[in-house]
């Protein structure tokens, strides 16, 4: 699993890809655009996100097919598999746990240091 460490916290690009595809099948450009717009790609360029799509496909979490019936140029459309949905659910649980943990710390507000140093 590769993380983008340029962010203040670690973002899992694979999770972002799976998340982008959770509601509908998308072609590569649209997946990349959504991830870039979310700010989740960090320093990764658009072209560097495609290898993650291919990796996820090899792991069986995505399937893809070239659609030629769109009237435009052929497009490679990606879709989540059952395994991909399961992985996304796991990512979501981890993410929610992380967010609630960070939230609980941030929401506590500033605390006064107590001690004998005046």
């Amino acid at each position: 699993m590769i993380y983008n460490e340029s962010m203040a916290f670690r973002i899992d690009i694979e999770a972002m890809v799976l998340g982008a595809l959770q509601s509908e099948p998308l072609h590569g450009y649209e997946i990349v655009r959504r991830i870039k717009e979310s700010g989740g790609a960090g320093k990764l360029s658009e072209g560097q996100i495609y290898p993650y799509l291919h990796q996820l496909e090899e792991k069986g979490m995505l399937t893809s097919e070239w659609k030629t019936d769109t009237g435009a140029a052929p497009r490679r459309v990606y879709q989540l598999t059952e395994s991909g949905q399961g992985e996304l659910a796991r990512h979501r649980v981890r993410w929610e746990k992380f967010v609630s943990g960070v939230t609980s710390i941030l929401a506590a507000g500033p605390t006064r240091m107590e001690g004998n140093h005046g």
Partner: protein, 358 residues
Amino acid sequence: MANLIDWYLVELQLRLDCDLPESRVEEILKEAEQHFQQSVRSRQEKNVSLEDAVEDAIREYGSPERVARAFLRAWPHRVLGMKPEWAAVAGSGVALFCWCFHWMTLGGYFDNFGETWQNGIAGIVGFAALALLFRAAQAGRRSHWAVVACTTLIFGAVSVPILSVWMIPNPDQKEEQGISRLHLSRDIASVERTIAKLGEYRDFMSRGIREYAAAASPADLSSDLRDPALAGRRFGDDWLIHIGGRERTFLVPYDGVFAEVDGRVWALLTSSSLINAKVEWLAKGPNDLAAIDRQQASLSQLLVSARQAQTGRLFFFDPRVYGEALVGLPLVLPLFLLDLAGYLASASRRRWLKRVFA
């Protein structure tokens, strides 16, 4: 402007071609082309000029080098079922072990002639390991170049102190010879035996020079000077017992004298005619006596080193010990240098990319 995208795709293809299957490269390029078309179209819809839209799309997609590396890292390269970096680790390790096998055998001593079956096997396995290292470097030189290069260099660097401590070198011997720190007591006794045996050979050869110079017939010679089996039994050298045949009855000096730390000495050969034997003794006898002296002096120095090792001296960074191990390491560098040269050679094609990514 489509020309710019074509140039980009050519640059990307050049960086993928040698490392990925053709079908995969085609797929990547087709998808990249589709991406550019959509990216340019969506920018033009926001009233960006075609020229700017193409340049923006290419810039956002990333430089061909970065993108190619990302694809290469994602591609499951396997060399003998291993990732390239692990194959490099295995190849370097086995190759280094085999190069140094004569130092590391359980025998513990260096076989000067490489004639033991262990050395033969080590040679074959070593070449196979070298091939594996090359294959790993080739497979991973783009995607994992840092890992592969570092692994190889680290192995070389680590082998230097390990071998330096492990092997006791002979400080004044041109031919590599040394003994293992793990077998100090046994090998010190062996070296002492070899030195003593060389002394016996010197006496034997001095007598040989005298007797053969004066001999008019075989009967004028001592029996051991015309009987290899007898000489072999005397010196404990089995190979002398079995050398030659019934017709090769005269012992003659070997061309040089070689002594092993385990006690084996090569100092004699056989000849079938007395005349030839007389010529051989005349020509080679005195030289071999001098060679015996050199071998004895050299082994005596090895003994000194070994005794120093017994008292705890470490022989760090003696090039006679680790030199061979380092010889092979630069072999992987040409792959990286070729790659770099190819990249630099495409400078003209990259000029426009430089402008885009400036």
